[in-house]
Symmetry: C2
Subunit: 496 residues, 2 copies
């Protein structure tokens, strides 16, 4: 008789292939789908997600996991695969199907309500939906089980093995250093240079993005770059990694850095070992680790002095009218403009994580039953004033700005900051290991850094939990210090 | 307990949704997929096709069909749905899975061999694969069962309820009238006008195609037009009908008429009643009927004097250099240029069906055991000389030109001609019913013709077998006469 591992393999391939179909349908929905195709696509995706869930939670998979857990003869890949599969299986079987369905329905209604509440600047339209969502997510957390606090169970969906207490401590260290430094910088930043808000042709922006992804090392024979309103990256299948960017005429920098960001995600996916892709280890260990790769290419590389100086002539070629008179120093300073803003997605590298601190604080308060949804708008405004130093004039520019909570993404926001901290730590380690990295980047050469990422992070896929992987790469635990050091060095030189 | 029909419905929805995923994967494969994504996509599609087959042939579906067949209380839609589902179920269950698998594998290998044999101009590379394919398709025909001759069973996969003898008789009538008339026209056609082979910018060709599909009535909120090397149309899902066209710089007319052709297919799909789309009646009754819609918009409308005259100024706007001096008469004659060619896809409206007659003749000979694959190249060349009046200099321009046989599409070619005959008959009937149609088309107005097609053909979906539908529309059986009359009137005026 075939071993449990051999019997598992065809089932894993089925899961991979159904997953690939769902990801293609979802990518297409965001990028190409004609408007009248929306309802049909939503139903077809739900049908396929149903199959995927049915296949994952089949009794046969449960039995195979039991056999494999008890098997001492497994190699490392098999052991890690079993661990990850068991994680997915447990999560998928612990939450009752009725609760899954209710959450999915509430997501649909709440998202719809959000799309109306935001332009209407009316939180009351969203409030009952968020109340229901919070209640359901508490039930979900309880079904998933937790030891110390409910929020742990939700965090674990996105950032496995990291607890609310750990994340809170990380943010505490981060904000202690970041807040006073940000205030120092904000006091010194000069007026915004005009080239930041000039009008740039969308087609040429896209053409530049196509140049940029290649320059950073993205294999266009194994992926695509397209346009969508909200940039994202999806690993549709083996050799098929798709990223999107956006082009808004008066936001050239938003387009460039969305592309650099998504390219980081896409390079990671292109670097996962082919032979692992059908296995439960052929993925990333946490969203924080994934975000570390996007932040690294967006910020550490893309917003650094070396690469901006390399990039400028290539931009001038395409946009001579507005950029020909801009010097490398002006450009470097411009792309690193620091500014108080009410809107997270407009925030710069320095103030961005203050917006995340606010969100973590509110999410923790909601799940610790210290805050009710009805009081969320005021709590938001107070926290914004405390963290960023400005008060939203209305809900549209405050609590209604993100869609995440309406679609039940609670416990998700902190991974943005975790990724930012990992990115700074990884980049510092790469500079230490490689030497001369800034010289490479000044010439637009990204190969050595990419190879370092491949060797140290991408090739490890999900063979190790995130914290263990970080320990292997850094020889230390994740801390806020490398990121704070990065900010202090860079922005002191720029503005202080 | 729920009725058999009620229990069937969720299963039909599953089949529709898996089918939608497969069609999207297939569309994407032809239009967007990066090269390195090929193998992964092929496997994922095979996995989903496996699910689809498994769901269709499940014992539960078999039992529900039995119940429904015996149920006297079904309404017309339910009865027709049961008939169509039984057809699909029987076909899917009659052919042994090992044979299905062997054909699929042989298709892969034979197609690969064809891609090498054609540029190498070497039939021997393909011969063993075609021999195997013919043998397997004979086995498939036997498994599907037949009464009079094997070819009936294969034809039935594409053109249900039409027998080899009927198709042969249709072709006999057609060729008897067409052959002498074609020779008469060919003797009189003047030299090719130079605008036919001028160089036209590909981007502008696409922009024109986007204009054209809208002009013909294609709803771009419920579909897309993209580029692929081989134009095709796919009903990805409800409200999501995708057509493609091609743009070759010195073949503007090929691009325009590929677009008109695919728009015909796409209009048909957009006209199927929404409420039937999840049911086995929510489709087309035969490929011939589908092709009738593409040919109608390509030839009867698109190549007619009225519409070409309307279209010309819109082309001149976009391609002034090469078209400004072309008169409406010259343009009309140019797009209806008649020429002997060795290659089917280059053939004009008059000679096109001679190429199909050749293919039917050879397919019948193969399935009647009157011809062996090894003798196919000579048989091809002889038939080409007999039908079209020229002899291929080599296999690449002869028997190797089409990929269809290598992928097992045997019994498929005749549907092109059947569709052409239906198109002429339907258009003549529409002109008779509506009156003033040419005046509409001269103004670019396609609404009344489209509405006539919606009322008489699209809205009927697969509620009736093709022949019954044709009888309802035409009040007569399909014959070659309307098409021959169309050619005689049009080309006599043009050339005789």
């Amino acid at each position: 008789m075939a071993s449990a591992w051999e019997r598992l393999l065809p089932r894993l391939i089925e899961l991979t292939d159904i997953g690939s179909a769902i990801r293609l349908m979802s990518w297409d929905q965001a990028v190409l789908l004609p408007s009248k195709g929306g309802p049909g696509r939503a139903r077809a995706m739900a049908t396929l997600q149903g199959f995927w869930h049915e296949k994952l939670t089949s009794p046969e998979i449960g039995e195979l996991i039991q056999e494999l857990v008890a098997d001492d003869s497994l190699d490392q890949v098999q052991r890690a695969s079993t661990r990850n599969l068991k994680r997915d299986y447990d999560k998928a079987t612990k939450v009752p199907p009725e609760l899954v369905k209710e959450i999915a329905e509430t997501e649909g209604l709440a998202y719809q309500a959000w799309t109306e509440a935001r332009p209407a600047n009316d939180f009351s339209k969203l409030q009952p939906h968020l109340e229901k969502m919070l209640d359901l997510k508490k039930q979900e957390a309880d079904a998933l089980e937790w030891e110390n606090e409910r929020y742990d169970a939700l965090l674990d969906l996105f950032e496995p093995d990291m607890s609310a207490a750990e994340v809170e401590a990380l943010f505490k260290d981060l904000i202690a250093g970041l807040k006073p430094f940000a205030e120092e910088v904000l006091a010194k930043v000069p007026d915004k240079p005009s080239f930041l808000s000039a009008t740039y042709d969308s087609g040429t922006q896209m053409e530049f993005s196509h140049w940029l992804v290649r320059q950073l090392g993205f294999d266009t024979d194994a992926g695509r770059l397209d346009v969508s309103p909200h940039p994202f990256t999806s690993a549709v299948g083996k050799g098929d990694i798709r990223q999107t960017t956006r082009t808004i005429p008066d936001e050239l920098m938003a387009s460039i850095y969305a592309t650099a960001h998504e390219t980081g995600h896409a390079l990671y996916e292109q670097g996962l070992p082919e032979e692992l892709l059908d296995l439960p280890v052929g993925t990333f260990p946490s969203l924080g680790i994934h975000e570390s790769q996007s932040r690294l290419w967006e910020n550490q590389v893309g917003r650094g002095r070396a690469f901006t100086t390399f990039m400028l002539p290539h931009l001038k070629e395409r946009f001579p009218t507005d950029l020909n008179d801009v010097t490398p120093d002006e450009f470097y300073q411009g792309v690193n403009d620091v500014r108080r803003t009410l809107i997270r997605v407009h925030a710069d590298e320095v103030t961005y994580n203050l917006h995340l601190a606010l969100r973590l604080e509110l999410e923790l308060a909601l799940f610790r039953d210290e805050l009710e949804i009805k009081d969320l708008p005021d709590a938001w405004d107070d926290a914004m004033e405390r963290h960023v130093g400005i008060r939203p004039p209305d809900a549209a520019n405050g609590v209604l700005q993100d869609m995440h909570w309406s679609i039940g993404a609670l416990g998700y926001f902190p991974t943005y900051t975790i990724g930012t901290l990992y990115a700074a730590a990884f980049f510092a380690k790469a500079e230490e290991d490689l030497g001369g990295l800034q010289d490479d980047l000044a010439k637009g050469e990204c190969d050595r850094l990419l190879q370092w990422s491949r060797d140290n992070i991408h090739s490890k896929a999900y063979l190790y939990p995130a914290k263990e992987l970080a320990q292997q790469v850094l020889g230390a635990e994740l801390s806020a210090e490398p990121f704070l050091r990065h900010l202090r060095e860079k922005y002191s030189e720029l503005y202080l």
